[in-house]
């Protein structure tokens, strides 16, 4: 078993040294992205995203609740990720571990910092009642880069969300005011090479990642270096350029949602 794993790793590595990826992609090429929205009718918004064989579903539920004291006129975003054991042999049942917390927080930051949702339109009664948006990320199949898939699914689900004002007796339903399209791009750094959208297969040879989320104006809204490795400054700028470019491509898909 371990021998096979090692042989496989050597193969992946030698390919990368030759400038190739085991699944034939270019270093800066994402796997095929499929977005299906409205898959959960009971949710206010939802999206199933496939990124190659990686699958994740995001459901958005909304409730009426109290605002935070320091933002009495703004809606609230709560992002949560469940890495359920169905999605990977290494996920375990139980409360969220550091990986699912990091995943949820990085997706959250992209949405929050790009100000993708106009939270000031989600105030019902200042200081008393605002809309709470629950963004629940539910992993189905982790074949690598669950993070970018989750970020795409989250913004797609939000684009698909209607605020259930009637059900809560506070007016007429309306579409969630989404005004930006943050896109997360994760790269794996290995031997000075940058591979975007690393697959599970590729992740077996490196744990050096960086996720850069950008918005419609190419602003950087979130960065997360993840994994114990040292990142060269010039490599960081290279990743920045690639991330901005790839995000633009993915954003085109989101515009069709």
């Amino acid at each position: 078993m371990n021998i096979i794993t090692d042989v496989r790793k050597d193969y992946i590595l030698s390919k990368i040294r030759d400038g190739e990826r085991v699944d034939g992609r270019a270093f800066d090429e994402f796997r095929k992205i499929e977005i299906e929205t409205g898959v959960i009718e009971k949710a206010e918004g939802s999206a199933l995203v496939k990124l190659g064989n990686t699958q994740v579903i995001v459901g958005v539920k909304m409730q009426v609740g109290e605002p935070f004291p320091d933002s009495p006129d703004k809606g609230i975003i709560i992002t949560n990720a469940e890495l359920v054991p169905l999605a990977s042999p290494i996920f375990e049942p139980g409360p969220p571990d550091e990986n699912s917390i990091e995943l949820a927080r990085v997706v959250d930051r992209g949405i929050r910092e790009s100000e993708a949702i106009d939270l000031s339109k989600l105030c019902i009664e200042e200081g008393k009642k605002v809309w709470i948006i629950f963004i629940d990320i539910h992993a189905l199949d982790d074949d690598g880069n669950l993070l970018d898939a989750s970020a795409i699914a989250a913004i797609s689900a939000l684009l698909n969300t209607r605020v259930p004002a009637e059900r809560f007796g506070v007016g007429e339903d309306f579409p969630l005011p989404v005004r930006n399209l943050p896109v997360a791009v994760t790269s794996m750094i290995i031997e000075d090479k940058i591979l975007v959208d690393p697959s599970k297969d590729e992740k077996s040879v490196s744990n050096s990642f960086i996720t850069i989320t950008t918005d419609v104006d190419d602003n950087i809204v979130s960065i997360q270096k993840s994994g114990s490795y040292l990142l060269k400054e010039e490599k960081f700028y290279e990743v920045l350029d690639i991330s901005i470019e790839k995000a633009r491509e993915i954003r085109e898909l989101l515009k069709e949602v």
Binding site: I40, I57, N80, P85, A87, P93, F134, D141
Partner: protein, 243 residues
């Protein structure tokens, strides 16, 4: 409240079905890459994803059984699967459902072939309607076959309800909430024949004769579902053969 709501009108149910009619069912096997076996299933508005891992080494190790595989079953509802957002993590209801569902499958899995191993069955309710536990069991059965786990047959599950005095098959939410009784069944089917009962729960109020009628109706229902399970499995293997 059952007085206020008419669940049966002109011999038809609230969603237009006949008493012995199933909801729409859609089954697809082998939909996940990581899992050893998997199945996506819709049954009415239920949307279920099931995955099977194993036989594999038991983690944590002290749970291992030296003479047979342990079977684990985790019924879990996604937070967005229900009207009111559900807090993540198991509640008492899902613990009980996981227990009786595991017992139903344990009784037909050939665990004796895999000592010190675990066979882990995970079912995620992505959208919930009445009968989610039966939909999950049907999906889990197909996922087990897809994973190649040796079984003595197959488990097929359906609920029966008493609604406005009538025994009806495969109830929807309203029938479950406002009906007089709910009886989830799972049967062990071998060589296309129903052999015995693998899961049986009931709550509500029924006479013995109504219960006998319920069993009859459930048996009719599971035979139809069984055909769809078979088809889903066949379809996957035939497609694979062609490739």
């Amino acid at each position: 409240m059952s007085e206020d709501i008419k669940l049966i009108v002109n011999g038809k149910r609230i969603d237009g079905r006949a008493f012995d009619e199933l909801r729409n069912i859609r089954i697809e096997a082998g939909v996940l890459k990581n899992a050893d076996g998997s199945c996506y299933l819709e049954m009415g508005r239920n949307k279920i994803m099931a995955a099977v891992y194993g036989p594999r080494k038991v983690q944590p190790r002290h749970l291992a059984d030296p003479v047979k595989a342990i079977v684990r079953y985790r019924y879990n509802m996604a937070p967005f699967s229900v009207e009111e957002r559900k807090r993540p993590g198991p509640d008492r209801r899902s613990v009980e459902i996981s227990k009786v569902s595991r017992e139903a499958l344990e009784s037909i899995i050939m665990t004796e072939l895999f000592p010190r191993s675990s066979i882990d069955i995970f079912v995620e309710v992505l959208q919930a309607d009445a009968g989610s536990r039966t939909a999950c069991l049907n999906a889990a059965s197909v996922a087990l076959v897809d994973a190649g786990i040796p079984m003595r047959g197959i488990i097929t599950s359906v609920a029966v309800a008493k609604v406005d005095g009538h025994i009806v098959l495969d109830p929807v939410k309203e029938e479950d909430n406002f009906g007089e009784a709910d009886i989830p069944f799972a049967f062990f089917i071998r060589n296309g024949k129903i052999e015995s009962i693998a899961l049986l729960q009931m709550d509500g109020k029924l006479t013995k004769n109504e219960l006998i009628e319920a069993v009859k109706l459930a048996k009719k229902g599971v035979m139809e579902i069984y055909k769809l399970q078979r088809e889903a499995i066949m379809k996957k293997y035939i497609v694979e053969d062609v490739e």
